[in-house]
């Protein structure tokens, strides 16, 4: 791998090193995040609301300035390279935003005119193609304020596709969409990725990116708690054995003796990581030790369980 002077790999579409954002008031929204988004990947950027996804994206796009740390987008340092590199980056940040008093078409004309690298001559053709791509051409003349939420979201994606891109950044593109709209966005992401464009897509729902992502990064309270290929995350889903019994103390002893990691005991339940021990061996040992086994099950946590395990259960966790 070729490395840039500050140690980022040139093969990465997005690379950050100890990227940190502290807002006035002292809140650390993004805390030493080291992103590594390979070129050509579909990178699912996951984390519950308030975990720092949007703030990270704002820094990557030169909208917000990092408190410390560095970031490179397509090999160009940000925010210094903003005007140089962003014409190759399409983005949707924190929901669509357009001029309510302009039509969908005029809104795209407006954003396209702001782009110094977009040729004005081809604007009409490009806008038309982008709107067609997201299925909005029929509603092009309608005022933006009369668009439905799904149409607004699609218009935002169309604006990200106005010129050829190397990277598309989509911040919660399915937020507020119905299942039908969610599926449409997913199809669109797949298709963009099929063209060889790197897609960086954030979501607070694992299920929404799980099917399209090759890589995931998981944020929690501003920190990147997991990053890697989706299959690597799956591998961390270690199956656990659960023994339901009245004699939890002895059962726990047996599991410990067998060398099972991560033991947990409940009122009438003992669980531990299965590792490479055969379940029938555990049954035999338990019976041998005289434990009355009511049930013995082996469970592999779902990806969702893993995700929740990484990010915490919900709002009260964030408050801490």
């Amino acid at each position: 791998m070729t490395m840039t002077p500050d140690g980022h790999s040139a093969e990465l579409a997005i690379a950050s090193s100890a990227l940190t954002k502290r807002f006035r008031g002292g809140q650390v929204a993004v805390d030493h995040v080291d992103l590594a988004v390979p070129r050509g990947s579909v990178y699912g950027f996951l984390g519950p609301n308030g975990s720092g996804k949007t703030t990270t994206i704002r820094m990557l796009l030169g909208l917000a300035y990092p408190t410390s740390g560095t970031a490179r987008v397509l090999g160009v340092p940000m925010p210094e390279g903003t005007t140089r590199v962003l014409s190759r980056v399409g983005s949707l940040v924190e929901g669509p935003a357009f001029y309510p008093y302009l039509s969908g078409w005029d809104n795209l004309v407006r954003y396209d005119a702001a782009d110094a690298s977009a040729p004005g001559k081809t604007a009409k053709a490009r806008i038309s193609e982008a709107m067609e791509r997201v299925g909005l051409l029929a509603a092009a003349g309608k005022k933006f304020r009369n668009y439905s939420l799904g149409m607004k979201q699609r218009l935002a994606i169309a604006s990200a596709l106005l010129v050829p891109r190397d990277l598309i950044v989509l911040d919660e593109p399915t937020n507020g969409l119905d299942p039908q709209g969610t599926r449409e966005v997913r199809t669109l992401v797949r298709q963009i990725a099929a063209d060889g464009i790197t897609v960086f897509v954030s979501s607070h729902l694992l299920a929404e990116v799980e099917q399209v992502s090759t890589h995931v990064g998981v944020m929690r309270l501003g920190r990147l708690v997991f990053q890697g290929e989706l299959t690597a995350l799956r591998r961390t889903a270690a199956p656990r054995v659960a023994v339901r019994t009245a004699d939890t103390a002895t059962a726990a002893e047996v599991l410990a003796k067998l060398g099972l990691a991560g033991p947990q005991a409940g009122a009438d339940l003992v669980t531990a990581e299965l590792g490479d021990i055969a379940p029938e061996k555990i049954t035999a040992e338990l019976v041998h030790a005289g434990v009355g086994v009511r049930a013995l099950t082996v469970e592999a946590p779902s990806l969702e369980d893993l995700f929740v395990g990484l990010t915490g259960e919900g709002f009260d966790v964030e408050a801490g």
Binding site: L61, L63, A64, A97, Y101, D195, G196
Partner: protein, 308 residues
Amino acid sequence: MSRLAEGATDLRAPATGTAAMPEATAAVAVRATLRFFASELRVTFFRRRNQLLLLVAALFPLVIGIGLKAADPHGGGGGRGPGASGAAYFSQLAGNGVFLTFVALSLLLILVLPVVVGVVAGDSIAGEAGYGTLRYLLAVPAGRTRLLAVKYATIVVWSVTATFVVSVIALLPGVVLFGAGPVTLLSGTTVSLADGLLHVLWVTLYVCAAMAAFGAIALAISTFTEHAIGAIAASLIIVVASEVIENVPQFAPVNPYLPTNWWLDFDSLLRTPVDTTTLWHGLLSFAVYAVLFVSIAWARFTSADVTS
């Protein structure tokens, strides 16, 4: 969405990237910025709210003309109109409709023109922030300095337009109601109508400069907030506060430095020979205000996080 499956077109940026375009990059950049400027002008001038503002600005001279005529059909030279402002051109109106331009400009400069300019200038950045379109413009990327330059250029065009709307519209009822002909200036000299109109042009341009400078103040305020209404209100409060201070004798020493102090000092353009000292003071004040506040806007806008 129906065509998603057949999307065979390669959307990727060309391998060379868009940055490498050695020949005539400067010309391309200028053309692109003109296109952006044209788009900004279109959005500004076609926006219903702004058109309404211009309409209101245009109605005032009509109403003022009709009102003055109705109050004094024979137009005796005895200082009609709001004598408090002491503007001599009220009394001259009787003799020539051209003076309605000066009457209208001096009356509208108190608040109406600042409102017309302040709404557009105060809205310029704050409005984009409020709609959330600012983050998309910057992500396009429009470039922060470039965006600000286009915004201020638009504010200047807008100020010039609003001022000319007032003075040109004022000419119509002025001429119809009070007649036209050789113009007797405040100094007593009489010049031809064409020369008189030239004086109208100079006065109008002077007021344009005043409004463009005020637009810079409103633009600067606009970079500090996401609330357009707040920025507009703040810029108008500055106008009113400055005008109030001007009228308190004890504050006389600071008067020359107030933003509104020189706005009405176009009297000298209505005399021959023209006393340029006051004019230059005024224009210097406008230039200083414009440069200072555009700089403040730039410093703020290029360093602040866009979190809207």
